[in-house]
Symmetry: C2
Subunit: 285 residues, 2 copies
C-alpha cells in the first residue's frame, strides 16, 4: 500500500502524473484498489487522497484542487472516485482529470441484475463503529494482542486460530492482520528450544490442536531478520536458526499440524492462505 | 469488512445470491472493494473468496464452482474479478455469473490516457514481501507494538505520530492500523490519573510535542467499554470516566495538542483523519 507521506515528499511534482483518490469516506478502499491498478503501469504517480468529501462545498474544493494540479503538472490527473451521491460525483466529474467512477461503473449493472435500486448511502465501505461486525473486529484485535507470543493461555478456547512457529517467523503481524481485517481471534505461540528438547508441543496447546497452524521460514531469511534485532547473538546465528526450524518442522510434521513457509509471503498472502484452511475446515465445499 | 467465516456459516445458501471474489492474488483488495459495492444494496449475499487463481486449471475450477452455485442458488452469482491475465479472466468470464471485471474496466482507459501498455502482472495489489515498502510496514508494526500503551520511550524520536488519550480511547487499534496499512510508526501513550494530578503531560512526551495527537471519547461510551473489561470497577465508573476525560482534554487544550473524538469513529476513520493532519503538517498544500 502506498505510504502517502513518503511519496508526496519524495515525488517531484513537475512532469509527474498525479492520481487523486476522492471519497466521501476515508478513501482507504478507493486508494487500495486504485493503487493495485496503478501498479500495473511502469511509471510513478504522485498520489493524493481526498477523504471525507461529503458535501457540495467539499466537492467543489476537490474539483478546484484537481484542476490546479492539472495546470501545475501540465498533464491530466487521474481521478479515482468512490463518491456515492451523484450530486457530489457530478461536481468532481466536471474536472479536467480523467474521471474513473469506481462506484457507478458497477452499481448500474448490479441494480439491473438485482432488480433493485442501490441506497446511495455514504461511507458504507467500512463497517460503522457501532455495528456488531466492527465491535467483533476490535474484540479480535484485543484478543490477538493479549495472546501474542504465548503471553496468555486464558480463553485460548475462544481463539479461531493459533499460529505457532519459531521466533520471528511472522506470527505476530499475521495474527494482528487476521484480527483487524477479518475479526478473527488469532492467538500466536512461539516454539522455543525447551519444546525442541522435549520434542513436544507446549502442553497448553494440546487441547487446541485442531486450531493450530504453523509458520516456517527459510533459515537464511530468519537469520537475517534476527540479526537486525539482536546482531551477532546466538539467537540470530544461521546454525541456530537452521536447528530451530528443523526441530519446529519435525514437531509439526509429527503432530500433523498444517503449516506453510512465510519466507517470500506478505502477511496478506499468509492470512489469505490461513483463511482458506480455517474456512474449508468449518464449511467443506 | 466481511467476516467470511461467520457469513458462510450463518448464511442459508438457498435463494440467497452468492457473490464471488476471484483473484490471482489474495483477493483481499477485490473483496474489500466489492464489499463496499454490495453494501449499497439492502440484501444479503453469500460471499465466497476464490484467491490465488493464477493458472488455467485454477481458472477452470473457479468457473465450475461459479456455475455449480448458479444451479444451486437458482440465481446468477455476482462475480467480482481482479484477474489480471486475460487468458485467465477470459475463462472465468464465460461463467453463468454476472462478471464484473474490476481490472480491465479501468486498465483500458488508463492505457489510453497514459499512452502505455499495462504490465498484466499478477499479485501487484499488495507490496511483495521483499520490497522496501513492505519491510517498512513490518518495521512499523513492530515499532507500534513495542511502543503500545507507553511501554517504552526508546527511539520515541523515530515515531511518525504519538497518540495520547485516556485508557480505552482507541489508541492501540488505531496505532496498529496506521502501521499495518501505511507503514507509519505510531506510538501510543496513555494519560493517567498521575498526569491529571500534575496537570501536565508525561515528561517523556515533552520533547516530541509536535508529534502528539489526542484521542478523546464520550464518557458514557468509555464507561461502557471499560465495564466490559473490568465490570463494576472504579476505573469503569461513569463519574471516573467523566473526570479522566475532562482532565485529559484540559491538558490537550492547554498544551495546544490536536485531538479528535473517537466515540462514533471506526479506526479507519480515525486513521484517515490523523493521516491528513500529519500530511498537511509535512507538506502544506
Amino acid at each position: 500500500m502506498p505510504n502517502i507521506i513518503d511519496r508526496s515528499v519524495l515525488s517531484p511534482v513537475s512532469r509527474m502524473r498525479t492520481a487523486f483518490f476522492v471519497s466521501d469516506g476515508t478513501g482507504i478502499t478507493a486508494e487500495t484498489f486504485a493503487h493495485s491498478l496503478l501498479t500495473q503501469f511502469d511509471t510513478h504517480f504522485r498520489q493524493v487522497r481526498l477523504p471525507f468529501v461529503d458535501s457540495v462545498d467539499k466537492a467543489h474544493l476537490a474539483l478546484r484542487k484537481i484542476d490546479e494540479t492539472f495546470i501545475l503538472d501540465g498533464q491530466r490527473p487521474i481521478v479515482f472516485s468512490t463518491l456515492v451521491k451523484t450530486e457530489l460525483s457530478d461536481i468532481v466529474r466536471a474536472s479536467h482529470g480523467l474521471y474513473m467512477d469506481l462506484i457507478q461503473t458497477f452499481i448500474e449493472p448490479l441494480e439491473q441484475e438485482l432488480g433493485m435500486k442501490s441506497m446511495h448511502t455514504i461511507g458504507r465501505s467500512h463497517t460503522s463503529a457501532d455495528s456488531a461486525e466492527y465491535k467483533n473486529r476490535i474484540e479480535a484485535i484485543n484478543f490477538s494482542l493479549a495472546h501474542d507470543d504465548g503471553q496468555s493461555n486464558r480463553n485460548l478456547e475462544e481463539a479461531d486460530v493459533i499460529l505457532i512457529g519459531v521466533s520471528r517467523s511472522g506470527k505476530t503481524p499475521t495474527s494482528l492482520f487476521l484480527a483487524m481485517q477479518y475479526g478473527i481471534k488469532a492467538a500466536n505461540y512461539p516454539l522455543i528450544p525447551d519444546d525442541f528438547e522435549r520434542e513436544k508441543l507446549p502442553g497448553s496447546l494440546l487441547p487446541h490442536k485442531e486450531k493450530l497452524f504453523g509458520l516456517s521460514i527459510a533459515a537464511d531469511r530468519l537469520a537475517e531478520i534476527r540479526n537486525e534485532r539482536l546482531p551477532g547473538s546466538k539467537y540470530a546465528m544461521l546454525e541456530n536458526c537452521r536447528y530451530e526450524i528443523n526441530e519446529a518442522e519435525k514437531i509439526m510434521r509429527r503432530e500433523g499440524i498444517r503449516w506453510m513457509s512465510s519466507t517470500t509471503k506478505s502477511i496478506e498472502e499468509i492470512a489469505a492462505t490461513i483463511l482458506q484452511e480455517i474456512k474449508s475446515e468449518q464449511r467443506p465445499d
